[in-house]
């Protein structure tokens, strides 16, 4: 039996593994993917100040550190079930079952789609798929693409495609229907973009500072927004055009766009077809918490964190003995926050294993998560801190409830 099994070798899982190994724990890391690094692998962006955040390089550094510590990392293994039996955890993978005292779930996030007629055609892929194809496998997803869904993730990946010399013909909204929600509403999307102004097209931001003042100005802003979009890194960002259909018989041949009102209603007669050989669907990320959900761990839906998240404390403990979480499973944030969460989780685990971890180093690690969060260049949700506070309140309510039960 291991001291600790970590599921997920992304920024949270690898950082946790390194920290826990430094404290002498016997660890196994499992990942479904064929390389370590998780979502870190595809990331590539320029930070304010001109440094490049190169996720492949960061993954390599983490994996290098892990291998110098002799960590056992097994790739290409899918976990399909976990269960707690007699105080230990059983991790059921493809053809083997592993047993461990402590289990850290660092399974990251999955992509949520927006649905557009034609989105099952070959050549339509999630925006993250295009990122991985381009930056990790170094194969162009196509010659010319259209990205459906305007958000932080899609803007960042549009730029990455551009750097790799893949043409992005447009980033546009999805059409309005019952499943696409706010992602199809120009005013809502504009509002969300203005909160992440460093990622939004700069002309928009210049307009934005004025537009933020009141609702009337916001409505004016989207009404006056140029129909053919504002260019960001030379890619048209279209907030007044929606993709209403993906065209093609055997694979993607183009998309049909239409101009929409400030509320996202299609203006008849404005349809136009543009050619492309691939389409990216960008509906955002949600915490991939399926394994935690199998354990009976309490869950809460918190919009600001991207969906349902397992209940956990600031030091990444869940209410279940020996079960911990770190990274995007706890809410959608950047890789640096995930790393600091991984470190914190590992310290909490080492402490629970009787290692000499001072309370001050654990509280310092918790504090480090907050400071990393406030320094983050990319914030997926403007109100992420409020989301974290909500979860902390749930945790305190839960802890108080448990105390009452014990009395």
């Amino acid at each position: 039996m291991r001291d600790l099994i970590i599921i997920g070798s992304g920024p949270a899982g690898l950082t946790a593994a390194i920290t826990a190994a430094e404290h002498g724990l016997d660890i196994l890391v499992i990942d479904e993917y064929l390389k370590p690094g998780g979502r870190l692998l595809g990331q590539l962006y320029e930070e304010p100040g001109g440094n490049w955040w190169n996720g492949i390089e960061e993954s390599r550094k983490l994996a290098g550190r892990a291998s110098s510590l002799g960590l056992d990392i097994r790739l290409g293994i899918s976990v399909h079930n976990i269960e707690q039996i007699d105080g230990s955890w059983l991790v059921h993978a493809d053809c083997e079952t592993f047993e461990t005292k402590s289990l850290l779930l660092a399974t990251g996030a999955a992509e949520a789609p927006v649905a557009i007629p034609g989105w099952t055609l070959p050549g339509v892929m999630s925006v993250g798929a295009a990122q991985v194809m381009t930056n990790v496998h170094r194969v162009k997803p196509g010659q010319r693409g259209v990205i459906i869904g305007v958000n932080v993730l899609s803007s960042a990946i549009a730029m990455e495609l551009k750097i790799a010399d893949v043409e992005v013909a447009a980033i546009a909204l999805p059409k309005t229907n019952q499943v696409n929600g706010k992602a199809a509403n120009p005013s809502e999307v504009m509002n969300a973009l203005l909160h992440v102004s460093h990622m939004a097209p700069s002309p928009l931001v210049k307009m934005g500072s004025k537009l933020m003042t009141n609702d009337f100005m916001k409505r004016m802003g989207i009404t006056l927004y140029p129909k053919n979009g504002v260019r960001m890194w030379d890619i048209p960002v279209m907030l007044r055009k929606a993709v209403i259909r993906i065209e093609g018989t055997d694979q993607v041949e183009g998309v049909t766009l239409a101009t929409v009102t400030a509320e996202g209603k299609i203006i008849p007669g404005t349809e136009e077809v543009i050619g492309c050989d691939f389409v990216c669907i960008a509906g955002g990320l949600y915490p991939l918490a399926e394994l935690a959900a199998l354990t009976g761990c309490p869950f809460y839906h918190i919009d600001e964190l991207g969906g349902f998240v397992p209940l956990h404390s600031e030091d990444m403990r869940t209410p279940l003995d020996g079960l911990y979480v770190a990274g995007n499973i706890t809410g959608i944030e950047g890789a640096k926050v995930a790393m600091s969460q991984g470190k914190t989780a590992a310290l909490a685990i080492a402490k629970d294993h009787g290692q000499d971890i001072a309370d001050t180093s654990l509280s310092e690690a918790v504090r480090q998560i907050s400071s990393t969060r406030s320094d983050a260049h990319i914030q997926f949700h403007s109100e992420v801190e409020a989301g974290r506070r909500k979860l902390q309140e749930y945790w305190e309510q839960h802890a108080a409830g448990m105390r009452n039960v014990m009395v």
Binding site: L90, E96, F98, P117, N177, V179
Partner: protein, 90 residues
Amino acid sequence: MTDRDMIVCRCEEVTYGELVDTAGQFACNSRELKLRTRAGMGYCGGRTCRSLVDAIALAATERDVTQITLKYQPPVRPVHFGDLGAIPND
């Protein structure tokens, strides 16, 4: 292709029209919508379409923030029958 013919659940090929009609007719929550249409019950286990199915159900029902809509069931990845009886070795 019209909106009604648009596929929502890619695995089971459940259409938008079918989901919206079913939700309208029975005022379903996500779970009932899934059971009536098979959306989210296919090969991927609903990882791709769950947010879409939720969105349709939430038009008719309130979200309970403490209950995961579309409960997860093991195995969360498809498993060959031959692998299910594996013996612990570690």
